[in-house]
Symmetry: C2
Subunit: 350 residues, 2 copies
């Protein structure tokens, strides 16, 4: 375990913890007393048919989901829906390398897959909330991976699905990009094979990781049009230090690596012996596929290729110059498009 005040109720709360018990992982290990951190908004109705599950992206927690996607009059409106935002395993709030005691913590934390997350979330949804259906499952990036996994694994439960800026089966290029992020962290001598004394020992690696996110996370147009200045940063250096470094450098390296490993291997076709068409064909949810138009590693073309394999799906690219990190919510126009699509999807009969 490593103390890290970033992962706290102060910064990310209020959130609750639910112990889903022992979680046997697809890779063979077991997380004992796996805790999922979650936050809820709104009220479950008597019919229990207004529940929405939102999963988190790489590095994200329930807090940024709340800030970016949830609000009165928004697509995810707590006045209408009971919204459960669940933190993925390894994100620092749910059971994660940094908050797991020895011998299972830090670099010994077992390999977790998207399917493990979704099975754990299924326990939360059924055992804690007694739900048998979800009006919508939605998430961005790794949240989209979890959304696809939900829709393929539990089609009878998922009425609607909205994978944003992510794929059902990770691409070769995306795997490679993620590997360079991993390398940036693990190559820091202070990483010490994952047994650092403090995240500060891995500062250089975390900063390299943050800078690489700046290259691939936004888009060339974001920089060409000076959007980083419009966001209040006086120069590229100012943006890198006070936005990218500030955001990522407080996080736990092993937690990031746990999520990165999972991200690299997201693949619903594990259910069907590698047949992606068959896997996506199992989806009964009405599905809106929503890539970011300028995304450099979950590009629209990759998302579109999957959309064609889903029985009842619409393809709605979100026009933005913010690239993948339009998920951060700095483009109000992108959020308005997402809201509109989510409202249309939620209004649709299923």
């Amino acid at each position: 375990m490593v103390n890290n005040s970033y992962y706290s109720q102060d910064l990310h709360g209020p959130y609750e913890l639910h112990d889903v018990g022992n979680l046997e992982l697809e890779e063979g290990s077991t997380i004992r007393n796996c805790n999922l951190a979650y936050a809820t908004f709104g009220t479950l109705n008597a019919a229990k048919d207004n529940a929405i599950l939102v999963s988190t992206w790489y590095s994200g927690t329930n807090k940024i989901i709340e800030q970016v996607l949830i609000g009165k009059g928004r697509g995810l409106d707590p006045d209408k829906y009971f919204i459960i935002v669940v933190n993925q395993i390894g994100n620092g709030l749910s059971t994660s390398p940094h908050n797991t005691p020895a011998p299972d913590g830090m670099a010994n934390f077992p390999r977790v897959r998207i399917g493990d997350d979704v099975r754990a979330q299924h326990r939360l949804i059924t055992e804690k909330f007694g739900l048998s259906e979800l009006a919508l499952v939605v998430g961005g990036s790794m949240g989209a991976q979890q959304t696809y996994e939900w829709a393929v694994r539990y089609p009878e439960m998922v009425k609607r699905a909205a994978p944003i800026a992510g794929t059902a089966r990770n691409t070769v290029h995306d795997f490679l990009f993620t590997e360079t992020l991993v390398d940036a962290i693990t190559s820091d001598p202070g990483f010490n094979k994952g047994f650092y004394e403090s995240p500060a020992d891995v500062r250089e690696g975390l900063l390299r990781h943050a800078k690489m996110w700046a290259v691939m996370g936004w888009s060339t147009k974001f920089f060409q049009q000076g959007k980083y200045k419009a966001l209040g940063f006086s120069s590229l250096d100012d943006f890198i230090v006070n936005f990218m470094y500030a955001y990522f450098s407080v996080m736990d390296p092993n937690d990031l690596l746990c999520m990165a490993w999972k991200w690299q291997r997201g693949d619903v076709s594990r259910h069907t012996g590698g047949d992606l068409r068959e896997a996506l064909g199992r989806i009964t949810a009405k599905t809106f596929v929503m890539p970011m138009s300028t995304d450099m590693f979950f590009p629209p073309a990759d998302c579109q290729a999957e959309w064609r394999l889903i029985p009842d799906a619409q393809f709605h690219p979100i026009e933005t110059i913010d690239g993948h990190l339009a998920l951060f919510g700095a483009d109000p126009n992108a959020l308005a498009q997402i809201d509109k699509h989510l409202m249309d999807l939620l209004a649709a009969e299923v």
Copy 2:
């Protein structure tokens, strides 16, 4: 100095060396007896009006230019033209950190700018070959930077210009990408602030650098469509090891860093106090601007924005899924497009 058999006549020859004398650099230092390595193809005609200058890209030498762009019946046809391929300073064949004796070698090698290269090349062209005009200046990537610099600095000499997959003023995003390449190398403890005993000491850094090139150098479609397999590699790992590592890991780290620093700061508006419109307005060459359609760091939109500022220019994006590294010549269709445009450009009256 560091021995490195990669930079040899065996692998890159035949090439000649020309000593352009002492080169005072824009940043203030001097390269004493600066040597430019160059290779020529074809014959200079009596009127001395059939000379073409080709400059090199990051990591490239005259050899890859010859293999990819020059040939009978091609755009750069040695039966018609006298083609001079000049290696940029720092590329390992011309004066470079690794082949410069102490105290100026290795990490003490001075900072070189694109403008320094072009002034040195001007000496080669005028003193060695007695040329007062160039029918065409052409280059890809950093070669495009040199092409633009030529066209702005010596407009009376440059009749035609063909910047391929590069910009006249480097973008903020491209600067940032290059910085992550630099970080990949310099963060290797074996780099030892540039005073390693052998490039092998920096192996890990060079491999990270190569992998990051794989992410940004090609395109998402290149991987989506399995092009790396079509090129004869059985898996992503096979491609990374036997293509990307094989290509970059034999190079000298300080040489790469010398070029990277120069690449980051390519900017013809240094001639005009930062006014890019005024600088590009000085170009009298008939100019074909040719980005690669899927380039992730010299994207068409950035090249198009500059094209609009050039008086007599045409915009001809090259359709390819190979991204920036279509420059490597693995897409015959991209080469055919380049050839056609170069033939049209060379046939045009100026």
